[in-house]
């Protein structure tokens, strides 16, 4: 009969040491070779838990506690109801579903199964006003107002954006207002830039490196590349509004299989218009693609090289300025993991794997027609993600389902060694035409998540072997 209260842990070794990850305390300890072998025997079922002297010894220090998990339930589920009434953080308005470009890898280009494509739908000012009012009515305790404009290409609806900014500024007196806008950069003409700069609207421009690399994917419907026009706009912008350009403009580079990553990085390193520090790399989403796409071999070589540089930087052998922004996330994650393992947070009987943020509360995405979604990244065609409307308010039942995605695999999660380290958003799970994410699809993703944690723990241990430490004040955060 299976142990209903197992002690859950994971052993692993590096070239330099032997380790065990204890799920209950979310911590890693270094083992001797003998201890490692004994724990491996327990893991394989060759040695009963109660006969392991190693487990008994570490139990005296609060580790290897038999499984306490009784239920998979997100601890923020109950408070979500309150937060939905009074503490919304950011509003994102989909001012249009139309775009003046037809980028190869775009989420709305038609290469993804079941996702929407570009269309002539746009938001009316009436809807936008109601969305802003809805946001304000539901954010009384939030210190600042964050309002974002999203598309399609939002600057196609520049007049609407202007009206929204003016309306928000008229309606909001006490809170500081932060506006932001995500754009392809082709419509940043003088009049528009003047308004954006005067209202300090942060902008994120999609730019995929040099002309050659950028224009492979980011093209107008007639096939013309968009690089030249963006650069011309940027030159004008930095000439006329240098401070604004420096402080409020960021660039998003989507790493995709069509580009040569080496050329992209080289371009950002040597060009004199764009500050390399303002670049944020993200990777094209490979979920739900209609056809298979693969990266070139050089992509993996570059990734590995930058990864090694990041590694050297973490152990103090290389200044961070030599590490490409491409792998800055790796550096940040290594710090976060170190802090988390240091804290030794014990498991609660009622818990949920990490990943889901409070849907609609951290980011509230309002579609052109007033339908509400948890953020701009989810598929608007999936009813699972429609969490209400500005007319009828929030659907708390749907928000609870999105937040409690771990419920789908409750039995597995309860005894999974990765429970404390797992991070999974429902948006990562393929739907395969179903109305909601299925168990089978989630379990497939669970395997990937476990593998990712194994790699992270391995990296963390190797970093420690090479002298990686995080400053004390950071450990306290």
């Amino acid at each position: 009969m299976a142990d209903t209260n197992p002690i859950i842990f994971r052993t692993y070794k590096t070239y330099g040491g032997y380790y065990v990850y204890d799920r209950h305390t979310n911590s890693v300890i270094t083992l001797s070779r003998e201890e490692f072998q004994e724990l491996q025997a327990v893991e394989k079922g060759e040695l009963p838990t109660e006969k392991s002297g190693v487990i008994a010894r570490y139990q005296e220090q609060g580790m290897f506690v038999p499984n306490v998990v009784k239920e998979i339930y997100h601890p923020q589920t109950d408070i979500m109801e309150h937060n939905a009434k009074r503490r919304l953080q950011q509003l994102i308005l989909q001012v249009t579903q139309q775009c003046n470009l037809r980028c190869e890898y775009c989420a709305f280009s038609g290469i993804y199964k079941e996702n929407r494509v570009h269309s002539a739908n746009w938001m009316s000012f009436e809807t936008a006003k109601r969305a802003i009012d809805f946001y304000l009515e539901h954010s009384i305790d939030t210190p600042s107002a964050f309002i974002g404009f999203y598309g399609g290409e939002p600057l196609l609806e520049f007049d609407l954006i202007k009206k929204c900014v003016n309306y928000a500024k008229k309606t909001i007196e006490g809170k500081k207002i932060y506006f932001n806008l995500t754009t392809n950069g082709t419509l940043l003409e003088d009049e528009r830039v003047k308004f954006l700069a005067e209202n300090n609207i942060s902008i994120a421009i999609s730019l995929d490196g040099s002309k050659k690399e950028h224009d492979i994917c980011r093209r107008f419907p007639d096939g013309t590349g968009s690089f030249d026009i963006i650069i011309k706009n940027l030159q004008n912008m930095s000439q006329n509004y240098p401070e604004y350009t420096k402080n409020s403009v960021r660039f998003f580079t989507t790493v995709n299989p069509y580009m040569d990553l080496g050329c992209v990085m080289e371009y950002f390193r040597v060009n004199d218009i764009i500050d390399e520090r303002a670049i944020r790399y993200n990777t094209m989403v490979f979920k739900d693609l209609k056809k298979e796409l693969n990266f070139q071999k050089s992509y993996f070589q570059i990734q590995k090289f930058e990864y090694i540089k990041a590694f050297f930087s973490l152990v103090g052998k290389l200044d961070k300025k030599h590490v490409n922004p491409l792998v800055h996330t790796f550096i940040e994650n290594a710090k976060i993991l170190k802090q988390a393992l240091h804290k030794r947070i014990e498991l609660d009987p009622v818990i949920h794997p990490g990943g889901p943020c409070m849907p609609g509360i951290i980011r509230l995405f309002v579609r052109y027609d007033g339908a509400l979604f948890p953020c701009e990244r989810v598929n608007e065609n999936q009813s699972f993600y429609q969490i209400g409307s500005i007319e009828d308010g929030f659907r708390l039942d749907k928000m609870r389902d999105i937040l409690n995605i771990g419920k789908i695999t409750e039995t597995e999660c309860k005894t999974c060694w990765n429970l404390q380290r797992c991070s999974m958003c429902s948006n990562e799970i393929e739907f395969h035409g179903k109305e909601k994410p299925g168990r089978e699809e989630k379990i497939k993703l669970c395997a990937e998540k476990k593998r990712a944690t194994e790699v992270e723990l391995y990296e963390q241990s190797v970093l420690k072997e090479f002298g990686y430490i995080v400053e004390t004040e950071e450990m306290r955060k």
């Binding site: 309150h82 009074r86 503490r87 305790d141 210190p143 008229k170 909001i172 006490g174 955060k477």
Partner: protein, 358 residues
């Protein structure tokens, strides 16, 4: 009776409106706030039976009371309100926290800090101030109201205790942990407690003498002390002065009975709580005879490196609160008025049973 107009919106406003009948020397004629608070303000004004515009309320009031800013708001409108009030000859009263945030230099002579201090002269009561580094025995029994941290309903409990004492005919003195206690006749906590240049030892002596002064001058049947902030560090950014204030109070005076205020807990771990009560007695000298579960909770906001306080609504509290099987009847939710009054009564009864007490 001074008629007050409150600005801007603060979650304590609901409590002020609800307890308006208990105010001493003040009345609230309405509240005003930023444009985005319109619905919340409307609800409070309805509670107060007020439906006038800002201009009408401003004309009706004697003074505008500027409250703490709990959301780091822009200050422009504060100054607009101040100027509008001054223009028609109204007084401005400011809480000390609001005064810290604003630049009131240009309004000197128009603004008063909300404060209520004992009228008696400490020098006359304590004969040898030069050798005054002495702790005096306080004859009056003391009830301390302390809590886990900020905004855990300590103030609400203090108002209730004070009004029940008044109702039962006891002569009581109250040192409020919240400046707004001054509106209900409570003394404001003396500034030296918060002064980072005053040593712990000095704070203990001075607080003891402060309470002694009240005790001698007013001879109250009981003294209620609201202990500001909380009993432990929450995070690197909300450290509650590492429990300095309860330690000062606990060292300065001998507390006869204490009420612990917690944040909202949907279900109490009674045994765990009892263990911590023992700890509070040992560490602070607070014998806890009542545990009041608050209507607020908190959230650590990693991205802003701060703690956010969540002011829960009645409906939420009713829905999510579950009484534990072995829960003693002195462990109550602050929103459960009758139960809370019964629990406070038990605290009084306990003191009555002490021949030296009430």
């Amino acid at each position: 009776m001074k008629k007050l107009l409150l600005f801007p919106y603060h979650p304590d406003m609901g409590l002020l409106a609800q307890k308006a009948a208990k105010l001493k020397g003040y009345s609230i004629i309405g509240v005003h706030s930023f444009q985005e608070d319109i619905l919340a303000v409307k609800a409070v004004n309805e509670q107060l039976g007020c439906n006038g515009s800002f201009a009408e309320m401003l004309h009706k009031c004697d003074a505008v009371l500027l409250l703490d800013d709990y959301r780091e708001s822009e200050t422009d409108k504060y100054y607009e309100v101040i100027q509008s009030a001054i223009d028609i000859g109204k007084q401005i009263i400011v809480t000390s926290l609001a005064a810290e945030k604003l630049d009131l230099g240009a309004y000197k002579g128009f603004c008063t800090i909300l404060r209520n201090e004992p009228k008696s002269d400490l020098a006359k009561i304590i004969k040898k101030p030069a050798q005054g580094r002495v702790k005096y025995i306080i004859e009056s029994p003391i009830i301390a109201v302390f809590g886990m941290g900020k905004s855990c309903c300590k103030f609400e409990n203090q108002i209730l205790i004070k009004s029940m004492l008044d109702q039962e005919g006891y002569r009581s003195a109250w040192i409020s942990s919240n400046t707004l206690g001054a509106l209900f006749g409570g003394y404001t906590t003396p500034d030296f407690l918060y002064d980072k240049h005053v040593a712990f030892e000095e704070k203990v002596i001075r607080f003891n003498q402060f309470v002694y002064q009240i005790s001698v001058a007013e001879k109250p049947d009981v003294i209620v002390i609201g202990v500001p902030e909380g009993i432990s560090e929450f995070s690197a950014h909300e450290y509650n002065h590492f429990a300095e204030y309860p330690l000062v109070v606990g060292s300065a005076v001998s507390v006869d009975s204490a009420v612990l205020c917690t944040y909202f807990l949907s279900k109490l771990d009674v045994d765990g709580m009892k263990r911590t009560l023992f700890h509070y007695r040992e560490r602070f000298g607070f014998p806890v005879h009542m545990v009041s579960i608050g209507r607020t909770t908190f959230e650590r906001m990693r991205e802003f490196q701060q703690v956010a306080y969540l002011f829960l609504e009645e409906e939420y509290l009713q829905k999510h609160y579950e009484t534990a099987v072995n829960q003693p009847d002195v462990f109550v939710g602050v929103w459960e008025t009758k139960k809370t009054e019964d629990a406070i009564q038990k605290v009084f009864d306990r003191l009555k049973g002490n021949p030296d007490a009430i």
